[in-house]
Subunit: 238 residues, 2 copies
């Protein structure tokens, strides 16, 4: 499995992803799930993937190979809506090619695609395995893909459109930490990216591995804080 | 869906269940999922159910109908292990009867069965749709069935075998509250039961509906406390 979460906030975008891929518990590997397509000063396109690894890799390879071609591509797209259309279509193309023999395998993949193209505000899309997609709005300013349930309560309790980017990152990391503690199929290292509205650069991209002191402290502080709140809440009166 | 959680702690057992049943979002109803088979002073058997409602109701009806028969039954069982065997066998019997025509319906149900019979300590079992089962041990002293993922992180962070019964109930309620906030298919009222080791009565059984002030306050205190901890944790240094 996988766990990725992205937010479209007032000040910009937050992307965070784990890097564990598994096909059964004895076939675990590390693959980055956060990918960037950037023309500095003009467009920043960010993408996270979950689902069939063969499909997601092929989709990314095809999109990179076509960047300077005549076909619709991510560097030619005029809007983020067009970008989402291209990702969805490429996903359908790969599944149609590979799923021919069926064999009961799930070839589907989900994508979170976000970014900003000159002339538009930052936008964020969730692309389903079927290739259709939805866009994030201020009412619910985040998307998750992969193993989403463990880390959802903290997002629902903390995040709204006016949350700062740094608080968004902190919340995404706590959400991922909760997921890692409860589910073996999600694991370090993490990819984290902070995109400031209107900056058109994707340089605030951080990697957190098991030696990262700050992430470790964050998880510990959260655990200790939770237990503290828990013990301070009075028992129910019947 | 459904969410039930039970704990086997040093001082006894905790059972908590929501009461929402749904087949699609336009067919939602309230059904109790916590059931008791009690001979005061001699045995307390508690059961929670998740999965196909037709199956769980039939299993419970058959077990009640057979209580004073010659067949293996819950009032005749010498141990909680025998109780778990009877529940598993009755589940298999109902599925074998009803699933004959297939039709792509999932007839399976899961059960959490716990309690105490004179001569034994309290015991807790999780019975799978296939009728086989596992028993709770002090290393991981809880079981969940139904929509389990949203409420698991708080259990993993707070509960161990030495947790008091009242803290166990508080944690179960927070776990259910987190699930209710993130998933529509889990809802009030709740059934909560506290069983003290060696008491052989099941009278500490409480019902919490939307008008229960204490449960409302518990959820609010948890939300406020979480947000407070969140804002006190410093942002990550990169």
């Amino acid at each position: 499995m996988t766990y990725c979460v992205a937010m479209a906030l007032k000040d910009g975008l937050v992307f965070a992803a784990d890097s564990r891929t598994n096909a059964g518990v004895d076939q675990i590997a590390t693959y980055r799930k956060l990918h960037k397509f950037v023309i500095e000063g003009e467009r920043v396109i960010l993408m996270m993937t979950a689902g069939n690894l063969a499909t997601t890799q092929s989709v990314l390879s095809l999109m990179r190979m076509r960047l300077n071609s005549d076909r619709p591509n991510l560097f030619g797209a005029a809007t983020m809506y067009d970008v989402a259309t291209i990702v969805g279509a490429t996903g359908r193309e790969v599944v149609a090619r590979d799923a021919g023999q069926g064999q009961g395998v799930d070839f589907g993949s989900s994508f979170i695609v976000g970014g900003q193209i000159q002339g538009e505000p930052p936008r964020l899309f969730l692309i389903y395995p079927e290739g259709n997609f939805i866009e994030c709005t201020p009412d619910t300013p985040y998307f998750q893909i992969g193993e989403t349930k463990y880390g959802k309560p903290i997002l629902d309790r903390v995040i709204d459109y006016h949350t700062s980017l740094d608080d968004g990152i902190k919340c995404a990391l706590i959400s991922i930490d909760s997921t890692i503690r409860s589910n073996l199929s999600v694991g370090l290292p993490l990819d984290v990216l902070r995109y400031r509205r209107g900056s058109f650069i994707a340089s605030e991209h951080f990697n957190l591995d098991e030696h990262h002191e700050g992430f470790h402290q964050l998880g510990e502080a959260w655990s200790v804080g939770l237990r503290d709140v828990f013990h301070r809440i009075p028992n129910l009166k019947w």
